[in-house]
């Protein structure tokens, strides 16, 4: 049993943190959000140079074969810095290719920071249910034809390629008949509506109208799409949990600092016992969430699918609860300053809120946890 990070992991974290402090401060971030693209080419280059884009990519494709723990370390730092670049979208998408062992050229481009990817899973009716897919994939002579509409695709308009879920058969919510495809965003029939998200990101609604993709665009084995989707979405959950921990650390430490400096009634407000205990509660929530995020990173690669689902859902639920509590209380303890856009605390709160409802909210994952056979049968 060993909870220590390796020296490499610690160094990597420090490198990312130094970059954030130097080049991705609160003001720079504000400018990026306000820019036309909503992302920063310089930041992307920096992430590539740091090795962050290569980290999850297998060595054979020019990457570092980084583990989920390595990714945890990076995501925590990006979370702490509130980095809104398409890093999550790209590495989340890359994991589909890794697990499908396909499109090595794309993985190479990811490693080199030459490409950005995004993941298009949600539809208007699906809410948190990723099997609720109406987009169709019809087999054609030399591949498939996609029709349908995906919504809230994070960085969908900034990506070069998309991972798209679609149905070759079955009704909405059937686990059978789901397939995943890699699709060029400049393919004929793909139209994208780009918009801002309330947490500073970009997302897009993307229509697919008779989009032709070759047979090799299909990821994984035929009719095995759901298992791939389920497993990789757990990988995405693990990334989000780690990001949330980084944000919680930052927002908790900002709040603690505020309690120590802000004066009311002639004393720092941190002298009021009610606020002290609130802060203690936030601290405990963070530590419990951190434990689960760590466990999630360890178990996301488990060969035991039930153990993976059970742990990842537990982690997302627990982190989600902590994210909500810590976000709300950090704002409350900041008083009026907490509800302005002028301090990072509000931005952290917004991102924490959105993480809670991304890739399944707390109740979704509690229900998924309960649905695993082990919930009732475990000894």
């Amino acid at each position: 049993m060993d909870f220590a990070l390796t020296q490499e992991q610690t160094q990597f974290a420090e490198a990312v943190r130094r970059w954030v402090e130097k080049d991705y401060g609160f003001e720079q971030r504000k400018h990026i959000i306000a820019s036309a693209e909503g992302i920063s080419a310089e930041a992307w280059s920096a992430l590539a140079e740091l090795g962050a884009t290569a980290l999850p990519v297998p060595e054979d494709q020019g990457g570092f074969s980084g583990s989920a723990i390595d990714m945890m370390v990076v995501m925590q730092e990006l979370g702490r810095g509130l980095v809104i670049e398409p890093y999550f979208a790209t590495v989340f998408a890359a994991e589909f290719l890794k697990q499908a062992k396909a499109h090595f050229d794309v993985l190479e481009q990811v490693a080199g920071g030459e490409i950005k990817l995004a993941v298009a899973l949600h539809e208007k009716q699906s809410r948190h249910d990723l099997s609720d897919i109406a987009t169709t994939a019809t087999k054609s002579a030399d591949g498939y034809t996609l029709n349908g509409k995906k919504t809230v695709v994070l960085h969908g308009a900034q990506a070069d390629k998309l991972i798209v879920s679609a149905r070759t058969s079955g009704a909405a919510r059937d686990k059978n008949g789901i397939q995943l495809f890699i699709v060029d965003t400049n393919a004929a029939g793909v139209t994208r509506q780009d918009y801002r998200t309330i947490d500073g990101y970009r997302a897009a609604d993307i229509s697919f109208t008779n989009v032709q993709v070759p047979a090799i665009a299909l990821l994984g084995r035929e009719d095995g799409g759901w298992e791939l989707l389920d497993a990789v979405s757990d990988y995405g959950v693990s990334l989000l949990c780690s990001e949330a921990i980084g944000i919680m650390e930052a927002i908790t430490s900002a709040t603690l600092e505020y309690l120590k400096t802000r004066q009311q009634f002639g004393v720092p407000i941190g002298k009021f016992q009610v606020l002290q205990h609130r802060m203690a509660d936030m601290f405990m929530e963070m530590e419990q969430a951190r434990s689960m995020a760590t466990l999630a990173a360890v178990k996301v690669s488990s060969d035991n699918a039930e153990e993976r689902r059970r742990t990842l859902s537990a982690a997302k639920a627990r982190v989600g609860q902590a994210a909500k509590y810590i976000g709300q209380q950090a704002v409350q303890l900041h008083g009026g300053m907490g509800v302005t856009n002028e301090l990072p605390v509000a931005h952290m709160f917004k991102r924490l809120t959105m993480i809670e409802l991304s890739l399944g909210d707390t109740d979704h994952h509690l229900a998924r946890f309960v649905a695993q056979p082990g919930f009732k049968n475990a000894a």
Binding site: H122, R196, I198, R262, Q264, Q332, V339
Partner: protein, 396 residues
Amino acid sequence: MDLNYTPEDLAFRDQVRSYLEANLPTDLQQKVLNHKRLSREDFVRWHKILAKQGWVATGWPKEYGGTGWTPTQRHIFEEECARAGTPAILPFGVNMVAPVIMAFGNQAQKDYYLPRILNCDDWWCQGYSEPGSGSDLASLKTRAERVGDHYIVNGQKTWTTLAQHADMIFCLVRTEPNGRKQEGISFLLIDMKTQGITVRPIIMLDEDHEVNEVFFDNVKVPVQNLIGEENKGWTYAKYLLGHERTNIAAVGRAKRELQFLKRVAAEHHKNGQSLIDDPVYANKVASLEIEIMALEITVMRVISQDSGRPGPEASLLKIKGTEIQQRLTELMVEAVGPYAQPFDPAFLEGETEHSVMNDDDAAALAAYYFNFRKTSIYGGSNEIQKNIITQMILGL
């Protein structure tokens, strides 16, 4: 014990309801019901419609142009306005400065300001909070020095709601820097067009421009704009704080929003069924609905005991009311899940008819949730309210 309205009350309710059905402009109503942002014109327009009916000042005595309604009638009116989805009558003029002018102003002040407030000829804002003061209001530092027949005001106010639209501001200023902090405070009315006043927006976390900083740089204010006596302002401010809590529980709005929540939850899904049919979600909605039912009765108990002027019980109403409002917005965001993420200020400002991802119900909800975090902070944070309960009710 009889929790029913009297036949007279019911007749009054029907009268208000019919009036609102006939007179509330649909475009304003739609903005309110769909959580969009109201412009200066929207507020003024509705104020003037109500003014024509004589229903602006529900808390004023008749002699000043108030309705002279009973506390129950005021409650019914507020409930009906909330139910219909009217814009608010902003409290700064009608409910905040006006009662102070009535109680402590001189005849000239009453004659001049009160009719203008009734008719929304002046847009008022409130100059209380300062950057350093927060919950410790009396520690304010903005100075007003008497020079001849003027005060020269220097300093800064903050959290000044909608000051960007304002014609007038009522301010607490320090006229005597020595002694206890509660003493030496005066209550001044200041024309916002006076030279030396600068308004700087504070953008809220939902990117709305609701509040401002107001800077005073050698602002000349005629002495006749002083309310009551110099250095007695804290007394007037405390009087006003008592008045501020009218309808603070906002049960009427909560009931309307609960219906919105149920509708949205019926239209979104979990496990292939309507979210409202999901036992876990329904359980949360039910708990919230019951909390609203309870608060409605609690409000009526307070009204029936205190002839409409709640004492420290107002703190309970404020805490429970804001908890309910925040929980409503939380469950709304939860209902729409990932569709809360897109952010479309143009839609919120009414510049586009439909939201960018074409889910007009969902489009405003995250902003609404974030915006409502302020409710447990402003008007005396909920922690301060619990201090009040602790001291004034429990005697600890």
